[in-house]
Subunit: 475 residues, 2 copies
C-alpha cells in the first residue's frame, strides 16, 4: 500500500470512525449496546482460509459493516454501564494513530528516545495531576511506566515485592519459602492471578475480611492475619489495598494499612484501577488519603480518563528495586546509552520485551482536555451517578446497596430475591438501549450502574430509570 493509497483509505476510515461516534451519540437506539449474537455467528460468516490474493479495502469495509459491527458490544455507547467503563476519545485515537504510523518499538531508550522520555514525563504529569506522592516522581528514586493493564501492574508489583522480601535471593532461587500475599475479600481477581503466575499458588493468598457495611478491608484483621502467618513461619511479601473495588468501589483504609505495612516491612501496592482517575478532582482526593505509604500504585487511564485501552499507569517509589527484579541483559541488547546508566530502559519495568509508543495517546489527551477538561469529565460522571442514586433513593421499590463515592451505583429491588433481581437485569439489558452488569454484595445479587461515557446524558439516565420502574412491576 503506497503512502497515497494510505492517505485516501485513511480519510475514509477516519470518516468511518467519526460516523460511528456520531451515530452512538445522536442515534444510540440504532445500535444495541450488546447485540443479540449467537456463539459462532461471526466465525460462520467468515471464510475458513485467508485469501490467496490481495483484496481491496472496500471488501474489508463491507464485511466490517455487515459482520463485525453488528456483532460488537459497543463500549463507547452512552448506554454502556457495565463493568467499569473503557472510554476512549478523539485525542486518544489521534495520538494512537501517530504511534501506529511511527511504528516505534521502544524496548530501550536507544530504540525510542522520544517514546521513553515522553512516557516518563507523562507519568510525572499524572503525579502532579492526581496529587500523588512526590516519591513516585522520576526526579527522585521513584518513577512511572505504562503497563497494558492493572493486572500486569499487580503482577509486576508482586515480583518486585518478592525480590525485596527475599533480599534479592528470589531472582536465582525462585519461590524457596512460603510467601504470603494479602488483599481484601473484595480485591480484584487479578491479584489471585498474579499470585498464581508468580508461582506462589493460591494457597499463599490471604483474603482479609472486610467491614460488612463499607466493604473496606479491616486493618485489625490484616494485622491478625500477618501475625498468624509469621507465627506459622510464612514470609509476608505483599499487601494489595484497593481504592475503588470492582464490585462496589469500596475504599480500603490506607492510613492504617500503610502503617501496618511499614511496621511489618511488607510491600504495599495500591490498586486504584478505576477510581484513580477521580483524583484529578481536588474534592475527590480524600479517597486517596494515606497513599503516601504505597510502594507502588496503579490506575487505568483506559478506564475513566478518556484514554483508549490499553493504558495502565504504574508507579514505584524505588525504581531500582523494580529493575533489579526484572532486568535481563543479553549481548544483543547492550548499547552505549544503557551502559551509561543515564537512561531508562522500560523493558526492565514490565513483562514483555517490546513496547508500543503509548505515551502519545496520553499526551494528546492531557493536552487537549487539560486538567480542567478532565475534571469536568469526572464530575459529569459523578453527577450522573448521583442523579441516578437520588432516583433510587426516592423510590420505595428499590434500595441503594452501598455508598457511591465515584460514578458507580449499586442497587437492587428492595426485598426482591436474587432471582427477581437477575430477571430485572436480563430484561433491562434485553432491549439493547442500556447494558448493566451485576455483582454480589454480602452474598446478594446486586445491579451495578457504572457511568463513564462522555456521551451519557441526564436523558440517558432518566430513560433508563423509566425502564427500570416499568420492569420492576414485572419482576
Amino acid at each position: 500500500m503506497t503512502p497515497e493509497d494510505f492517505r485516501a483509505y485513511g480519510h475514509q476510515l477516519v470518516d468511518w470512525v467519526a460516523d460511528y461516534w456520531r451515530r452512538l451519540a445522536e442515534q444510540p437506539a440504532t445500535l444495541p449496546v450488546q447485540p443479540p449474537v449467537k456463539p459462532g455467528q461471526v466465525a460462520g460468516q467468515l471464510p475458513s482460509k485467508p485469501p490467496a490474493h490481495g483484496e481491496p479495502i472496500e471488501a474489508v469495509l463491507a464485511d466490517l459493516d455487515q459482520i463485525i459491527t453488528p456483532a460488537t458490544t459497543h463500549w463507547q455507547h452512552p448506554g454502556f454501564f457495565g463493568y467499569f467503563p473503557a472510554n476512549t476519545s478523539g485525542p486518544s485515537v489521534l495520538g494512537d494513530l501517530i504511534s501506529s504510523g511511527l511504528g516505534t518499538q521502544g524496548m530501550l531508550w536507544s530504540t525510542g528516545p522520544a517514546a521513553t522520555e515522553l512516557e516518563t514525563v507523562m507519568l510525572d504529569w499524572l503525579v502532579d495531576l492526581l496529587g500523588l506522592p512526590a516519591r513516585f516522581h522520576s526526579h527522585g528514586p521513584g518513577g512511572g511506566v505504562i503497563q497494558d493493564s492493572a493486572s500486569s501492574a499487580a503482577l509486576v508489583a508482586t515480583l518486585a515485592a518478592l525480590h525485596r522480601a527475599s533480599d534479592g535471593a528470589w531472582r536465582t532461587a525462585g519461590v524457596d519459602r512460603r510467601y504470603t500475599v494479602y488483599t481484601s475479600t473484595e480485591g480484584h481477581s487479578s491479584i489471585e492471578k498474579a499470585v498464581r503466575i508468580a508461582g506462589l499458588g493460591e494457597s499463599a493468598l490471604r483474603l482479609v475480611e472486610v467491614d460488612p457495611q463499607t466493604l473496606a478491608m479491616r486493618p485489625d484483621a490484616l494485622r491478625d492475619q500477618l501475625a498468624a502467618d509469621r507465627a506459622a513461619g510464612a514470609t509476608p511479601a505483599l499487601v494489595v489495598a484497593t481504592i475503588g473495588t470492582t464490585s462496589t468501589t469500596a475504599i480500603d483504609p490506607l492510613p492504617q494499612i500503610g502503617e501496618i505495612c511499614t511496621q511489618e516491612q511488607v510491600w504495599l501496592h495500591v490498586d486504584a484501577a478505576y477510581a484513580g482517575s477521580a483524583a484529578v478532582c481536588p474534592e475527590l482526593r480524600w479517597t486517596h488519603a494515606g497513599v503516601a505509604h504505597a510502594d507502588s500504585y496503579c490506575f487505568d487511564p483506559h478506564k475513566w480518563l478518556l484514554t483508549g485501552f490499553d493504558c495502565d499507569a504504574f508507579w514505584v517509589a524505588d525504581r531500582a528495586e523494580l529493575v533489579a527484579a526484572l532486568t535481563v541483559l543479553p549481548e544483543y541488547l547492550r548499547n552505549a546509552a544503557t551502559s551509561t546508566g543515564a537512561v531508562i530502559d522500560y523493558r526492565d519495568w514490565q513483562v514483555p520485551l517490546g513496547r508500543r509508543f503509548r505515551a502519545l495517546k496520553l499526551w494528546f489527551v492531557l493536552r487537549w482536555y487539560g486538567a480542567e477538561g478532565l475534571r469536568a469529565h469526572i464530575r459529569h460522571g459523578v453527577a450522573l451517578a448521583a442523579r441516578f442514586a437520588d432516583l433510587v433513593r426516592a423510590d420505595d421499590r428499590f434500595e441503594l446497596v452501598t455508598d457511591h463515592p465515584f460514578a458507580l451505583v449499586c442497587f437492587r429491588l428492595r426485598g426482591g430475591d436474587d432471582a427477581s433481581n437477575e430477571r430485572l437485569l436480563t430484561r433491562l439489558n434485553a432491549a439493547g438501549e442500556v447494558f448493566l452488569t451485576h455483582t454480589r454484595v454480602n452474598g446478594r445479587y446486586t445491579l451495578r450502574l457504572a457511568v463513564g461515557s462522555p456521551h451519557t446524558t441526564e436523558e440517558t439516565i432518566d430513560a433508563l430509570w423509566r425502564d427500570l420502574r416499568r420492569l420492576a412491576e414485572l419482576a
Copy 2:
C-alpha cells in the same frame, strides 16, 4: 472533541502519517535512522506539568514535529537493519484505527463477540497460511490467541507447562518442588525472564549446549541434561526450542527435540518469534520441520509480517490445559455465554484481563496482501539479505559468520578483533543512513544486518555495502 472535530483532525493526522512514510521511502536521508539524541533532551523540552486548560491539536502537532520526531528511532526506515524488524503497513494501521475507534474491550466473548471470533478465525487462517500442525486449529482441542509479545507467550507457555507437570497442583500449591526449564545457550532472554517471573528462579534454567557450527541445540546434550536433572530429583517442566534464534537465526532440531520431549513427557514450546513469518513461503517450510511435536508455538506478525506492534500469535495443542492454568472467575465476570461453555473467553489465555481488538489489524493485513502478497514480502527480504551475503562472501576483508536461512546476515571483518568490529559498527551507524546492531557468536563480536522494511531496496543494500568497504579501510 466532537465527531466533526475528529473528522477534520483525523484527516490531518492521516496526512501526517502518509507524508512521514513518503519521506521515509523517498527521502530517507533526511531522517537519520537513529538520531543523535542526548539523554534528557526530550524531557528537557517539555513542560514539567500538564496544562490547566485544553490546548489545540495544532500545538501538539507542532511539538510532535519539533520535539518528538527528531528524537525518534525510525523503525520503519528502509535503512533500519537492527535487532529484528518491527514493520507495520498501511492496512495494519487502518485496521488498528478501527480498533481504536470501536474501543471494544474483549476480555470475554460477551464483551466483544466479533473481537473474539475474528481473533479465533485469524489464528486459524494463520495455521493454514504457515502450514502449522492441524492440532493448533480451533476446530479440535487446540487454538490460537494474540499475545502482546513472544515474551508473554513464553511466560504463558511456562505456566501451562507447570500446570501439567504438577498434575494441576501448581495452581494451589505454587512452586512446591524443583522444576527445571530448558532452552539452548542461544535461546532468547525472555525465557530466562519467564522462568524468573514464574517463581522458578534462574537456577531452574538449563542452557543446553549448541553445536558451535550451526548454533543449534544439541539433542544429545538436552537428553543428558534431562537425565541428570531427573537423577537429582528435579521435575523437568518445559523445553523451549527456537526457530530462528535472536543472535543468528539458528534453527534447533525439532524432530529430535520433539521426540525427546514426547518420551520425557515435557511440554515443548517453540519460539519462532522472528522466523515464523517465513513459513508463509513453501520453500522455507523446511525450517519448521518437526513443529508437529510442539505443545505450543508462537511467532510475531509484528516482526516480519507487516503487522504493527503489538501482535504475537500463540497456539496451544490443548486449550483446556491453558485455560485451566490461568482462569479465574469472580462473580462480576459471570455471564450467560461463559456459563454455556460454548465460547472462548480470551482473558483466560493471557496475563492481563482486558484486551484490545487486535485481530482487526491482522484481518486487514491478511486480506489486503493475501497469501501471495505476504510471500512476496518475505522473499523480498530474503533476496536482499542474500544479495548482501554475496557481497560479503566475495570480499576478502569480510567474512560471513553463520548461515542466513532468513533475512538476517551475520558478518565481521575477517581477522579483525572485537574492537575493530565495534568501531566499524559505530562508524557505520554514525551517519544515520543505516542502523545495524551487534551480537557475539562463540564469544566474538559480530555485526548483524536484519532486512525487513518493504522500503528497503537493492540500492539501500548497495549503498550500505559501499560505506562498509570504505569504513573497513579505517577500521
